[in-house]
């Protein structure tokens, strides 16, 4: 199963350049046409499940607007044989 991730886009810095959209291998980013940032840009946002937390969007982002999170599986420790 691919790792589960998500991104947060900072409205203060995002300029709606859309470079993160073409960089995302999962096609899960789009510009939010319903909203404007304080500077008047349509910000990028996640539109679907499937983000793997690969951070390619954040690497291409010229405004360091993206924070990327990933869920790391916590390995289950074996229960002791007898209680």
């Amino acid at each position: 199963m691919p790792a589960k991730g998500w991104i947060e886009v900072d409205d203060l810095h995002c300029k709606g350049c859309a470079l993160c959209i073409s960089a995302c291998p999962q096609d899960v980013i789009a510009l939010d046409m319903e909203r404007l940032t304080p500077k008047g840009y349509h910000p990028a946002h996640l539109i679907a499940e499937g983000c793997t937390g690969c951070a390619l969007c954040a690497i291409i982002c010229p405004d360091a607007a993206i924070t990327v999170y990933r869920e790391v599986p916590v390995h289950t420790k074996k229960a002791p044989a007898s209680a």
């Binding site: 589960k4 991730g5 900072d10 203060l12 810095h13 300029k15 709606g16 350049c17 859309a18 470079l19 073409s22 960089a23 500077k39 840009y41 937390g53 951070a55 390619l56 954040a58 690497i59 291409i60 982002c61 010229p62 405004d63 360091a64 993206i66 924070t67 990327v68 999170y69 990933r70 869920e71 790391v72 599986p73 916590v74 390995h75 289950t76 420790k77 229960a79 002791p80």
Partner: protein
């Protein structure tokens, strides 16, 4: 023992500590912002923020000092290598880098950069080649491609009239004082990663006292190239790289084994 059921959340990417929270004035999609971030990430990773002094140029990156959370000075147009020379010689323990555009470095500042390299000044230069004078409205630069339209070459750069593009990395690599001279590109994630490694190598060169270092970065100017940000990245890959080949032009043997 019962294992926790919720997986842990890890931050895998965030704004570097060496950035302020100020929003840049760069146009949407301009890769000046990527270059800034890479420098900040390298300074963070090397733990050098408290001892680094940046030298800002004249050009679109004239306000670079507002975006980096570290000491910075502002040089006159093209004179950043001269200013950096002075600072480094007086404060040799500090880490000094200049950040310069192609108009700044290869046009008005040609003398300063050549002589700083010839003297083997122990400074690092981040050179942003976007083939144009961005700040002043898109005039032809010494790096403008043959046939490329700019506001001062509206029919395309005519090499018969205005000469050929200057390849700074190749030229500076001939200097004995140069320790590390490479050209990279900012047009996709893979090349951005390679650019970051090169910036790291340049600062490592300085920290080891191995002389002048420069990373030339092919960078976009969607506004003055008059294309969308993603088209501008394609222009770098398809039109700029053939004229400005990526590569290592000078690497002092002392650096050869270094892996960053």
């Amino acid at each position: 023992m019962v294992a926790p059921t919720t997986p842990e959340t890890k931050v895998v990417f965030k704004r570097p500590e060496s950035f302020t929270d100020v929003t840049t004035h760069y146009c949407p999609g301009c890769t000046h912002g990527v270059a800034h971030r890479l420098v900040a990430e390298v300074i963070d990773e090397m733990g050098l923020r408290e001892k680094t002094i940046g030298v800002a140029p004249v050009g679109c990156s004239v306000f670079a000092y507002k975006y980096f959370n570290m000491d910075f000075v502002e040089a006159a147009h093209g004179r950043a290598p001269a200013m950096a020379t002075g600072i480094k010689r007086v404060l040799p323990q500090k880490t000094i880098f200049t950040y310069q555009g192609d108009g700044d470095l290869a046009s008005i500042g040609m003398a300063e950069i050549m002589h700083a390299a010839a003297r083997g000044e122990n400074i690092s230069v981040i050179f942003i080649n976007n083939a144009i004078f961005g700040m002043t409205g898109g005039q032809m630069a010494p790096t403008t491609l043959p046939g490329m339209k700019t506001t001062s070459s509206p029919f395309g750069r005519d090499v018969e009239l205005t000469g050929f593009p200057i390849r700074m990395s190749e030229m500076l690599a001939t200097m004995d004082g140069a320790g590390y001279i490479v050209r990279r590109s900012l047009h996709d994630a893979k090349h951005i990663r390679q650019s970051k490694k090169a910036i790291r190598m340049a600062i490592e060169t300085q920290e080891r006292g191995l002389g002048f270092s420069m990373v030339e970065l092919l960078s976009s100017c969607p506004t003055n190239w008059k294309v969308a940000p993603d088209e501008a990245l394609k222009f770098i890959a398809e039109s700029m790289i053939p004229v400005f080949p990526l590569g290592d032009y000078k690497v002092r043997p002392e650096l050869a084994g270094l892996r960053v």
